[in-house]
């Protein structure tokens, strides 16, 4: 397939690293207390893609995770369910079964996650199988090798093809920003994914360090904001990897609130990809309710 866009379309504004990091650090000083904190943390739970992506993953492990996603804190009806459970394609069916009747979506990584170093046909077939198994969201990885060697058209084509293979499923495009290294690269990768029809831009696989950082997510939010203002098409952002504490989660939400605003403050348009974050958020929510910190053992380990 030949791509319809010339490299000129992928041109993006330059990014000043120091100023971007300064702005992210400035927003990180926001003080979120009391009701705003509880509201923010509940919002964060509802935006969470509870994730397990290990070689050790088994049906039992996935079922446990699904239980947690449905009702993170059974005695607190005000704490909402998570947005999705994110698994490898072979465990999609297990997750679909365990989540039947709930609002929790099933997301599957695909396209040779995490490296993406397989051929196009294998990638597309993997997507088709995951969708056929019932995944409603597909998290693909971009071809970083192609990107870093300047074959932007190839990256674009592949996203287009995966989008088509997704059918009705939502497509999240993982940029793996830790491998793109520069903010200029991240900004360009955003542009390519936006033009290719991504429903979500996602920072990382979680397998590369650094994963999600505040400046990178700020930059991605600016990209989807500008795209929306230019075209009217709204695209979501998913911060994934390395987000472990409630404080982190609130800092990301502040970025969303002050960069993109109200339209993005919902699970439909912003997600956290995390595994250990949920229990810290639950602990903070219980602390706000009771005034005391509970023991870690009071929260289910899933």
């Amino acid at each position: 397939m030949s791509h319809p866009l010339s490299p000129v379309e992928f041109r993006v504004p330059p990014v000043d690293a120091i100023a971007l990091e300064t702005r992210a650090a400035d927003l990180a000083t926001r003080s979120i207390k009391k009701r705003a904190k509880v509201q923010g943390l509940c919002l964060a739970v509802s935006m969470m893609d509870l994730t397990t992506l290990e070689g050790m993953d088994s049906p039992g492990k996935v079922r446990q995770l699904c239980g947690k996603a449905r009702r993170p804190l059974p005695l607190r009806p005000d704490v909402p369910p998570c947005a999705a459970v994110c698994v490898y394609p072979d465990l999609v069916e297990v997750a679909v079964e365990a989540l039947r009747g709930s609002s929790v979506q099933v997301a599957s990584v695909a396209t040779g996650f995490p490296a993406g170093r397989t051929d196009r046909q294998t990638k597309l077939r993997e997507v088709e199988l995951a969708v056929a198994a019932g995944a409603t969201e597909i998290d693909m990885v971009i071809d970083r090798g192609a990107f870093l060697s300047g074959r932007y058209g190839q990256v674009y084509d592949e996203i287009c093809a995966v989008k088509e293979a997704c059918g009705p499923a939502h497509l999240k495009v993982i940029l793996e920003t830790g491998e793109l290294k520069t903010y200029d690269n991240v900004r360009r990768a955003c542009r390519i994914a936006l033009l290719a029809g991504a429903d979500f831009l996602k920072t990382s696989t979680g397998k590369v360090t650094p994963a999600s950082t505040l400046p990178v997510v700020l930059l991605m939010l600016e990209a989807v904001r500008d795209h929306y203002l230019e075209t009217g098409r709204q695209v979501g952002v998913k911060a994934a990897g390395g987000i472990r504490t409630s404080k982190d989660a609130l800092r990301y939400l502040v970025l969303v609130a002050e960069t993109c605003g109200d339209l993005w403050l919902s699970p439909q348009w912003f997600r956290f990809g995390a595994s250990s974050l949920l229990n810290d958020v639950l602990q903070q929510l219980e602390k706000e309710r009771t005034g005391r910190y509970q023991r870690p053992a009071d929260f289910s380990a899933d």
Binding site: P14, T29, I32, D262
Partner: protein
């Protein structure tokens, strides 16, 4: 017909962002139970707090609420005289002290200031109206940095001026403004003491509290009596100080108008003078700039400290090709500036410092509207009590408008356009001031080309309103002369005895 209707529909549905409707931050006020403000402050002369011979006091208020905070002594001529005499008395011993010993005092002052940082930030915010975020993260740490930095020069003066012998001048009279009360005190006092001078400092009438608290730090640090004297008062006190025959040098930061008066007052006397005065700085935004970051810089340039900054970037010169886009970005960004209680940790912009200043801002903004520029104001709710002004931007500004020529000293940005680099330079320099400039471009060669041509003491590239004790600060043209900070700043506080070869 139908087509027209459809078009109108599309336009009204143009994508727009909304803020603050879904998730509202709760108030996050900084606590005030860790310090007290005394009901009355005296003058600090000869190492002691002393009652003014004038017998007079005046109130200082919180500009965010108009509530009185405290009353401070009004120094009359006799008080000024006593302060200068105390400085003269202390001078020989302070001058004779080794550089290392002077450094020790300065280091001690810096450390105590940092230990008491939280209290200083709060008092500064209450007395000045600027947000706690800024006093906590900028004013107080930078003030301490100036003491640390200049402590480092105290024992290295010979290295600063090779082949010459630097000597202190004597008693230095320093008059400082209300926009950075503690920071300006540190800028002035630290280099003067490092070089071996003694000081009589006159803080601004409307923001005297942190300078007086700094005197407590001097006492804690064991600074010898009379090395620094602080006299509070009004314009009359300042005038009496700069006219006092016992001074060897006058250093002033403030308005160009008062600066000219001071220059007249010291004319014909053997008195050194440095002036740091007004500004009307330009940002030059080129189409290849990192625009989102440039927006942040422009916002920081004009809305930092409510625009009460002599080097504020109050003129935005933007390349015509990105004018519309950039103004749109700015407008959206301005709507998210959180204006309100300065003590709230989430406040981005606090109160206008005083009623006269608010009147001055209103007058110039009215003139801008009257002259035909288009005013954009951030839609924010302003408190009923206190002095407030919404973040504002004018588009359609002509170079001849008052808002493009006069220093507003408030949160008001004037946007103009240019087509070529030459035109940008010409417009940027077309002002009677020359304190600072900001260049926004991704192109290295252009940065250097522009920086060479800017008639401004400080040229920031892809940043703005960044300060460092090691970096000299000062003006061209009516923005004054002399430099503060860095090696150049030290030069203003010594007399050089030439002819000595390095041994």
């Amino acid at each position: 017909m139908a087509k027209h209707v459809e078009k109108a529909k599309v336009e009204s549905a143009a994508p727009e962002l909304q803020f603050g409707g879904v998730w509202k931050y709760e108030p996050a006020p900084e606590s005030t139970d860790h310090f007290t403000i005394a009901p009355r402050y005296e003058l600090f002369v000869g190492g002691q707090f002393v009652k003014p011979k004038s017998g007079e006091y005046f109130a200082t208020i919180d500009p965010a609420t108009e509530k009185p905070l405290s009353e401070v002594a009004l120094a009359g001529d006799k008080d000024v005289d006593a302060a200068v005499k105390a400085g003269q008395k202390a001078f020989p011993a302070w001058k004779a002290l080794s550089g290392e010993d002077r450094a020790r005092f300065l280091f001690r002052i810096a450390r105590i200031l940092l230990e008491r940082a939280r209290e200083f930030a709060c008092v500064e915010t209450l007395d000045n109206g600027k947000p706690i975020k800024e006093t906590r993260d900028v004013d107080v740490p930078l003030a301490a940095q100036h003491f640390f930095y200049h402590a480092g020069w105290a024992d290295k003066l010979d290295l600063l001026f090779p082949g010459q012998r630097p000597e202190p001048l004597g008693v230095v009279g320093q008059v400082i403004p209300w926009n950075f009360p503690l920071l300006m005190a540190a800028w002035k006092i630290a280099p003067a003491l490092a070089a071996g001078n003694t000081v009589v400092l006159k803080p601004a009438e409307t923001s005297p509290l942190t300078a007086l608290r700094l005197c407590e730090v001097f006492q804690q640090a064991g600074l010898p009596p009379g090395v620094v004297n602080v006299i509070t008062g009004d314009g009359g006190t300042g005038a009496a100080l700069v006219r006092h025959p016992g001074l060897a040098k006058v250093a002033f930061t403030g308005s160009t108008e008062v600066g000219k008066e001071i220059q007249r007052a010291v004319a014909g006397r053997n008195v050194e003078l440095t002036l740091e005065l007004g500004g009307k700085a330009a940002h030059l935004v080129f189409e290849d700039a990192a625009l989102d970051q440039a927006v942040e810089g422009v916002v920081r340039g004009i809305f930092f400290n409510q625009g009460h900054v002599c080097c504020a970037g109050s003129r935005l010169l933007v390349q015509e090709s990105v004018h519309e886009l950039f103004v749109d970005k700015l407008r959206r960004r301005m709507s998210r500036i959180r204006v309100g209680n300065p003590m709230d940790k989430n406040t981005d912009m606090g109160a206008i410092h005083s009623k006269p200043q608010l009147q001055r801002i209103r007058e110039l903004v009215a003139a801008g509207v009257d002259e035909g520029a288009v005013l954009h104001q951030a839609p924010c709710e302003l408190p009923q009590k206190g002095f407030w002004f919404a973040p504002s931007m004018f588009t359609g500004v002509a170079m001849s408008h008052r808002i493009a020529r006069e220093e507003i000293f408030g949160p008001v940005l004037s946007v103009l356009t240019f087509r070529t680099p030459e035109e940008a330079v010409e417009k940027a320099n077309n002002t009677s001031y020359g304190l600072s400039a900001g260049i926004w471009t991704d192109k290295g060669a252009r940065i250097l080309w522009l920086a060479e041509r800017m008639q401004a003491g400080v040229v920031w590239n892809n940043t703005f309103n960044r300060f460092d004790a090691a970096s000299p600060f000062g003006g061209f043209k009516e923005s004054g002369f002399g430099r503060e900070g860095g090696r150049q700043g030290m030069r203003a506080y010594v007399r050089l005895r030439g002819g000595l070869l390095p041994g």
